[in-house]
């Protein structure tokens, strides 16, 4: 295995000024995106039509991660910043170290299985949330200890700057840049515009509570915030797969799930190489071409998101067919035994690598320009 990539973390402090806050929000955007390739890899590695309950659970989580990205981008636009997603520096190489946490947990592109699930549970784990930096209980140089602490710090920064600069001054972004419910979203929660302190705090609430659960329960706050059916938060949804049992309405984080059985067929997934690289596929081969094409379509997806987050929200709809293309390309790759003899002997299959380079972005931009 290659050495895991380390993501840049903002300084260990409550954001001091607008520039600081924008830096934090860009880091949040990167963090939310970091989870998407591993989740997609696990979901698409399921053999088509098998493991429907698990597939459905992962799908619902990955869609909500996309919602979180969008809400963070809205918040960034609202405080006068500009999201950056269509950039090779935005896409981490995998495996990557999960940022903002004490333990150095590697996040790799794994097929559906116990290892992938352990990683997902770690990512979404409702940690004991340390107080933000500067609090008497926190040392000067403790550094970040959890994603929850990072978001609590972001929240403290938003509150502080809103008080210092005034709400209207802080939220000076152009409202036309906000992605709203009209621009498409189809799962738990809802996309909404961030234009003031209340909507900013609501966005941060959605991002944290859909992942970890609200008020120390296993459930998210979709019911309270959006009038939707409440669901277990991401951590507990993944836990349902791990324990092959659903959470019931009276279950607690401590007690675990006591609802009905969930059938999980652990072997019904294509085994993949967690260190997959395009370079492992022979140049000129069909697998190589498909893997390269995948990275290009992923670059195109990020170009669409870039445009949606920075001035033309309506193009978000174009992300939907692009996602379907990614699914089809993933399934095509997975059907091929790995071209490398040693890996093939280990039963591994070819898979997308998410190595999105500047070259892919150039080609994606050219392709989008042709469609104009």
């Amino acid at each position: 295995m290659t050495e895991p990539a380390v993501l840049a973390e903002p300084p260990f402090r409550v954001p001091r000024d607008r520039a600081d806050l924008q830096l934090f929000l860009q880091a949040a955007l990167t963090l939310e995106h970091l989870t998407i390739p591993p989740y997609l890899t696990a979901m698409y590695s399921l053999r088509p039509g098998r493991n429907r309950p698990a597939s459905h659970i992962i799908r619902s989580v990955v869609l909500e991660e996309m919602l979180h990205m969008t809400l963070v981008a809205n918040l960034l636009s609202a405080v006068g910043g500009e999201a950056l997603v269509a950039d090779s520096r935005f896409v981490s190489s995998y495996p990557a170290v999960l940022p903002f946490s004490k333990e150095k947990v590697p996040v790799a592109l794994r097929h559906f299985g116990p290892e992938a699930l352990e990683t997902f549970l770690y990512i979404e784990r409702p940690a004991y949330v340390a107080e933000p930096p500067g609090h008497p209980s926190v040392g000067e140089d403790d550094g970040w200890t959890s994603v929850g602490q990072f978001y609590a710090t972001l929240r403290a920064g938003v509150l502080r700057l809103s008080a210092e600069l005034g709400e209207r001054e802080l939220f000076c972004g152009d409202p036309a840049r906000q992605v709203g419910p009209a621009d498409f979203y189809d799962s738990g929660g809802e996309v909404f515009a961030v234009t003031d302190l209340a909507s900013a705090l609501k966005a941060l609430r959605v991002v944290t509570e859909q992942g970890e659960g609200a008020d120390g329960t296993v459930f998210d706050s979709d019911e309270e915030l959006f009038g939707e059916t409440r669901q277990p938060a991401h951590y507990f949804r993944f836990d349902e797969i791990r324990r092959e049992r659903a959470y019931g309405p009276y279950d607690t984080p401590a007690g675990g799930p006591s609802g009905p059985d969930i059938a999980v067929a652990w072997q019904d997934a294509y085994p993949l190489d967690p260190g997959a690289k395009v370079a492992h596929y022979p140049p000129g081969s069909a697998v190589r071409r498909a893997a390269d094409r995948f990275n290009e379509v992923y670059a195109r997806l990020l170009c669409v998101l870039q445009a949606a987050f920075t001035g033309t929200p309506a193009v978000l709809r174009a992300a939907v067919p692009t996602m379907l293309e990614l699914r089809a390309l993933s399934e095509r790759l997975h059907r091929n035994p790995h071209p490398d003899p040693a890996r093939r002997a280990a039963g591994l299959h070819a898979s997308p690598t998410y190595e999105v380079t500047e070259r892919h972005f150039e080609r994606a931009r050219a392709e989008l320009a042709l469609r104009e």
Binding site: D186, S187, V320
Partner: protein
């Protein structure tokens, strides 16, 4: 004293509703919300309101060779239902009918329905246009068919209520401008209109504003591609309901799913994400006062001597695969038949009820459909978006209705799937597979060439679906034949069906219009009507030959009217002969106009719910007792 066998207690309700489809679900919703105890009896099974049941239906549809409307839904010998595949065309014209319906012609009734919890609206396309005001008095204005005892204005507030309940996506201003539909000032639909498909925009670019005559001596009409209202989740309208907005209702049986249409183009037979409205969504909001009993086939309505009905007799079965069933009864103050136009008529005929006018089962109508299809000169992206997102509305009314049936033109987003079984039909043709199994296979294409050819061909496909208003004729009817019974012993419906010359003239005019549209579009016309297996609706008219399909819009079989002498139900859909028996649904419609009828049926049903509520209230008023004269 020895006790005899205990008589099972007959349960008593305020209302018994027969059928858990669109109309029945709305009645149960409205009356249950008002605290009445409602029993809903459903002849079919109840699997589709669970997520595994939905996935099973989806798998069945994906595996089916012919994606017909009933493809996803399991056959049920205890509550059989028709399938469009029951009809087979004969080599030289004419047809053969197998399956649930007995048909004695002269033309085939080409539509199906579905007996299962959720009903036929499980497989509807989801189009929800309003009827045109002119559609309510065709006899008075144009001299054909039958008139409603109501006008558009009587129904308008109920149209709004139905649009709320179904969550309709549309553009009221466009409907007002393009069709002349009256809306209250400032009215907006619960959701923004479903976006146009790319095909719509290609066709609009070439047709919008073009003036056309359907015949050399006819007046000019201006063409305009108009977005169709849909009962399908799009973007909620934040200004709806005085700014309270609208919350889309997603899938039944799983959380946070189906809150937006994602353009599967599989609305018929089943929306994979359940973004389309189905009655299951209404059922999910029923109050605790509503009891649903599935596997309960109502066989008779029970009456007292005084014309009032007492309740219903039904056959309860447990296992659809077994003939075992038990006969039970349920009593109620009010009985509401909401079992589909054909089933309602069947039930009234079997019960010998409501037929003083002699009209029960008569006036059977559908929207006969003429398909035309061709290839555009460049790819136009079929199979994206719902089955149809726009249409041409300029032939829906006007003086020409005197001479020929009016029609609505749907722009079909699903290529040639209806007329030619695309894309699988195209694949087999390119592989050299002929329709004749006795012939050896021809030379076919393979690999990259096959893919290229297929993409080039399928990508340019489009079709027009012309839907005609069929006029009410007493000769088109449903009867029952005791010699032909289903497995529970219930006589099956016999259909007598034909198209009037008025409709046939409409079909001929539409074909002439289609020819002009193809020329204007610069499209290759592949339309051809020949008798054969897949053309049971082939017929000759004048010096032309045509083939029509059914739209699945059965209506007219318990027709509504202003007088008990010539109609079955009154303007509240109450049987004239039985004050506490309602027959609701499209069966009440005296004329169907050119709009898909579900929204109108929902509006009419919601209007009737108000009357039912008043009827039930009046039953519970204390009687006024008067003491005899002279007593202290």
């Amino acid at each position: 004293m020895t006790a005899g066998p205990a008589r099972p207690a007959t349960p008593r309700y305020d209302v018994v509703v027969v059928g858990a489809g669109l109309a029945g679900s709305l009645v149960a919703k409205r009356l249950g919300d008002r605290g009445w105890r409602v029993l809903v009896l459903e002849a079919g099974t109840r699997t589709l309101d669970s997520w595994p049941g939905h996935l099973d239906a989806l798998d069945t549809a994906h595996a089916a060779l012919a994606k017909v409307p009933n493809a996803p839904y399991r056959r049920n010998p205890a509550a059989p239902f028709p399938d469009v595949l029951d009809l087979t065309g004969l080599p030289d014209g004419g047809y053969r009918a197998d399956g649930y319906f007995l048909q004695n012609g002269p033309l085939p009734y080409g539509s199906d329905h579905l007996r299962a919890t959720g009903g036929t609206a499980l497989h509807w396309m989801g189009l929800a246009p309003r009827m045109h005001p002119d559609d309510f008095h065709v006899r008075r204005a144009y001299g054909y068919g039958r008139d409603w005892p109501l006008a558009y204005d009587d129904l308008e507030p109920h149209y709004r209520a139905a649009e709320r309940e179904l969550g309709v996506a549309g553009d009221a201003d466009e409907q007002r401008d393009a069709i002349g539909l009256p809306f209250p000032p400032g009215y907006g639909y619960p959701m923004h209109k479903i976006p146009r498909s790319y095909l719509d925009s290609v066709i609009a670019a070439r047709l919008d504003g073009v003036r056309l005559r359907e015949a050399p001596d006819a007046p000019e009409t201006t063409l305009r591609v108009v977005t169709t209202p849909h009962a399908r989740n799009s973007t909620p309208n934040p200004g709806y309901d005085s700014g309270r907005g609208h919350r889309p209702r997603g899938a039944v049986g799983t959380p946070n799913y189906g809150e937006r249409c994602v353009g599967h183009a599989f609305c018929v037979p089943i929306c994979p994400v359940q973004a389309k409205y189905t009655p299951l969504k209404t059922q999910a909001t029923w109050s605790d006062d509503v009891t649903l009993v599935a596997h309960a086939v109502v066989s008779r309505v029970l009456t007292a001597g005084n014309g009032r009905v007492l309740g219903v007799e039904y056959q309860r079965y447990d296992d659809p695969a077994s003939p075992a069933h038990t006969t039970r009864t349920a009593e109620a103050d009010l009985v509401v038949l909401a079992a589909h136009a054909v089933e309602n008529a069947k039930l009234l005929l079997l019960s010998g009820l409501a037929d003083a006018s002699g009209q029960v089962g008569r006036n059977l109508m559908d929207h006969p459909v003429l398909l035309t299809w061709g290839l555009l000169d460049h790819p136009a992206g079929p199979f994206r978006g719902p089955g149809s997102t726009s249409g041409l509305e300029c032939f829906r009314t006007g003086p020409a209705r005197r001479d020929r049936a009016p029609f609505r033109v749907e722009i079909g987003n699903w290529g040639w799937s209806w007329p030619a079984g695309s894309p699988s039909g195209d694949v087999s043709r390119l592989l050299g597979i002929t329709g004749d199994p006795s012939q050896p296979r021809g030379k076919g294409l393979f690999g990259a060439r096959l893919r290229r050819e297929l993409g080039h061909f399928v990508g340019r496909q489009f079709s027009f679906q012309f839907a005609f208003e069929q006029d009410a004729e007493s000769r088109n009817r449903v009867t029952v034949d005791p010699r032909h019974r289903d497995r529970l012993g219930i006589p099956r419906p016999v259909l007598t069906y034909d198209l009037s010359d008025h409709v046939k003239r409409g079909i001929a005019s539409a074909k002439a219009v289609s020819d002009q549209l193809f020329r204007l579009l610069g499209a290759e016309d592949h339309t051809a009507y020949a008798p054969g297996t897949s053309a049971p609706g082939w017929f000759r008219h004048g010096d032309g030959a045509f083939e029509f399909k059914g739209a699945g819009h059965a209506a007219g079989t318990h027709v509504m009217g202003a007088s008990r002498a010539d109609s079955v139900v009154d303007p509240w859909q109450r049987c004239w002969d039985h004050p506490n028996l309602y027959a609701v649904g499209c069966g009440s419609m005296p004329s169907v106009g050119t709009s898909n009828p579900s929204l109108t049926m929902a509006a009419l049903t919601l209007r009737s719910c108000e009357r039912m509520h008043r009827d039930l209230t009046e039953l519970h008023r204390p009687a006024a007792l008067r003491l005899p004269e002279g007593r202290p």
